[in-house]
Symmetry: D2
Subunit: 307 residues, 4 copies
């Protein structure tokens, strides 16, 4: 049976790739996509999510969420992802906004979780604002969340600051709320995502293969994250999806994670390893297999779309 | 025309008195009562609100809100208000839960504000958790909020700690969210509420007058706040209602208020006086007139109930 | 017998007045004056201290101390005290630097305390940098300190920020070090110093009386503290000296005082009243008697100088 | 010409090994050893330093410094180093306290630096309390400090907490003071010291060789740091000395380092790489050559002592 998941996202180039991989994964059933301000503002992240689902020919509902972090002002990453969030890429015209819910992401999350027959896996790949609002407003959802598999944080180091990863830095209070709840969390942070580097050669392999291959390769030609080199880049958010489809690639260690909310270390995820911790921190990954999976995923999409 | 208000509350003895005064004030139209964890937990504050409205023969809807503060664990004030929140008082039997909404306080707040023909005055007299969740989830409500008249904070001093008032201390992050929004706020903090002291003699004047007079006097015989003496006590939350019905009793000064969220000064409302500030801080009050108003209010209730 | 005291100071107009009062008080024996950066930089505060002692015809040794606070950059109060620290006042020419020790204030403090036959009373009327360095480098002095009578802090409110008094705000880490030691402290903070207001009429009474009366009146004509009005001003530092000579004027309450060192409440002196506290906080003062004492003091100086 | 250095230390087993290496290094002239509370209290660290110098037949002066950190209470590491600080080791009897200065470490540091013909290299291998007190009390020493080569901090990770190294954690305020001064600093933190692991086989090589080999091997048989395994251990403080004698083994990167002083990240050294930074952070080391140097050092000591 497919694992029912909900993706909370701020697309974002790596978000687009992760969502695409998820929507075509035979192991996953994407029930809902919710958007949040992060890489770019909520207008753009929502438009990108809707456009992507349309472009891929899917009908996954999308719901717009919070624009601003709980207490801080939004610090976006437009430098990495372009003003629109998807580099210079333009999705094919046929705009279909019927996917877009008239309800707020937090309400759609509540309903999708509460009305699901099986426990839902939440996959947040942006700042955790929506998830925090959800857990504080409707704590009853916790009993039907299987686990949270998120991209964010780092046991060691950071990317926006020397000690803070972007998603944690943007809304540290939301992150603290989420990590402090006694929910099972898998944390795909910089410790793994900086290892899972895709090369320009890898991208070339999929570039010629259909409109999705083309989209991915065009967006990645723009993607200018601090961890990119001329020949390699980290597609951070994708780790969450590959963790769900190929968990054996990842080495995890159990911990309690405390998020710093104030001062110069704001957004730092202080990782205390201990066997009772509610967080499984991704520490290692089979990089070669990850790359093969990347290529295989998009070749499979090419086949499925029958272009 | 009556001023449409919504009371967000954690009853609480002084909350009960404030709500009662509001429900019988000819100047006010209480559209909704929402509850929050604070003086006691959400179960009790909600039950108390419903029981009170029933007891008073009103049909104001009540909606249950957040139990726990955003980031901190709830620190209640059961020592002041009793385990149930209303001292040893028991409301008459006929429990009527039909007043209680099946929707969350945050959704009821959104609907009541968005669907109101005239801008709504919010009257939070507990921790600001619900209001913060509302403003972050549904920022569109801001355009139909006239002002927020709240009990909380202090320009100088505190009651839970030397620098923090209870409602701010319980959820300083929510308070910071609310004060940082550019909404017009009237802050009835300790600067005024510690002045507006009611004496045991005042209470005796209303004690014999009907079931409401009896309720008030019984509850206040229990009320054991740190600012009470043997003969006088501050009924903090009542200042918000009297500000709305008798604004001329209060002296206000415009300021910007920054709430401290971390460290030993957590919950401190740092009050920078300036003419562009969005907060009007209550600094003085006509104490004698306040007392007369207290007695007059409950004598009028006695008359209206026709006992 | 005279009480042996050491004044640690950042003159500063009110420092000059306090030092003058101390040097002529029959109850006090000023063993040493040490200087610190505060109202203005260390060069000026040291020059002012030396010039003042010369001007008064005394031979109290002066030792130069720390220029910069422990962790923060110096924020001076040149706006209140003028660039030089003593308004536009110029001391008579004969500069005599022989009073100035070649040793650092911290070493002179150590020696003066350790070699004193009776326990010393420390009177810090500037930021507490020197005192903190002393206590951390030479903790053995503690056994020969009788008490610390300081100007600084506030049980309620502030003057540089809404919650911080100047001396605490300038070096909150030093203040925390001093208050956390288990030394007996008398805190003359804004709670008393804002009460002890001297009027322009009071000043006129001493203005015509000798060179000291002239100096005091000239300096105060410049003094432009935030708590001054056109007709009244607080001479903050003087409270420490009058506490030592006329303790019966002051009402104190025992407390533990925690100094906030970080964030927007930095410099706030959180005052927890309790009978085991090491701090006696000045809360009230006989204002009329304080004014009389002010005039009497400088009339007495006039008489003693025989002009 | 030999490099004149001063070691500020809290011996501590790895301190003992570092001091020994320094005292016999032909490249170094150890002018002074100052002690500080850290691994164990000041009584023990001072006794250990004096005993060690005697034991090695040297006459380097020792001066006792601060026992307690500036603002925090001392958190020692007696679990790692034993109650005495040197495991179960007992130095040969002839106690000679004449090496011990009657002056405080801070004064001896000042004199040794100011009176030196050539600029001094400071080598702090404990908490930075003494160095902070020195720089704040006698800032004039800065002009005759060549550089500070210290053990402490980490660009990534920690050992006492997930983000703080021991020496920084014990006195973060002192660390912040030192790193904020514009002095050239070489930071040998966990990034290198966790790499420079010595094996039990390495230790066996020196164990039979004279009293110093015996001392080192006995102490290390006790040494139980969190980074030790059954067969390998990090002798953290030694990196500073080997950096001075064999700088070519180390790879450094220039940065600005901000020390967190409050909250759960207290002691974290936030490392912002930039070419104008005053800190050179050790990031890599030639581990094999380091091991060879370890063995060669103690074999040379054996030869020099002519046992
Ligand atoms: Ca993302
Ligand atoms: Ca209340
Ligand atoms: Ca002063
Ligand atoms: Ca050490």
């Amino acid at each position: 049976m497919k694992t029912p998941i909900i993706i909370d996202t701020d697309p974002g180039i790596d978000d687009v790739i992760a969502i695409t991989a998820a929507l075509f994964a035979k192991e996953l059933d994407v029930k809902l996509i919710t958007t949040v301000g992060g890489n770019v503002g909520i207008e753009n992240t929502t438009t990108n999510a809707v456009n992507l689902v349309n472009f891929l020919g899917k009908d996954t509902p999308v719901a717009r969420g919070a624009d601003q972090p709980l207490l801080k002002k939004l610090v976006s990453a437009a430098k990495v992802h372009g003003e629109s969030g998807v580099g210079g890429y333009h999705f094919e015209a046929k705009e279909n906004r019927t996917l877009l819910s008239t309800k707020h992401a937090v309400e759609e999350l509540r309903d999708a979780i509460l009305y699901s027959n099986e426990p839902i896996t939440l996959v947040p790949i942006g700042p955790l604002t929506n998830i925090a609002l959800l857990l504080k407003t409707y704590p009853e959802v916790k009993s039907n969340i299987k686990e949270i598999v998120l991209m964010g944080g780092a046991a060691k180091g950071g990317n926006v600051t020397p000690v803070a990863e972007f998603n944690m830095f943007v809304d540290p209070h939301a992150a603290k709320i989420v990590f402090d709840e006694q929910i099972s969390i898998v944390m795909c942070g910089l410790d793994v995502t900086l290892q899972t580097r895709i090369s320009t050669d890898d991208i070339k392999e999929i570039a010629g293969h259909g409109k999705v291959g083309e989209m991915v390769s065009q967006m990645l030609s723009y993607y200018d994250s601090p961890s990119s080199t001329e020949t390699e880049m980290s597609i951070h958010d994708l780790s969450t999806i590959f963790y769900l489809t190929r968990p054996e690639l990842f080495t995890l260690k159990r911990a309690t994670v405390n998020v710093v909310t104030e001062g110069e270390a704001s957004g730092c995820t202080i990782t205390h390893y201990n066997e009772e911790g509610n967080v499984q921190v991704g520490l290692d990954v089979d990089v070669e297999e990850f790359r093969r999976e990347f290529i295989a995923t998009f070749m499979k999409v090419y086949g499925m779309l029958g272009e």
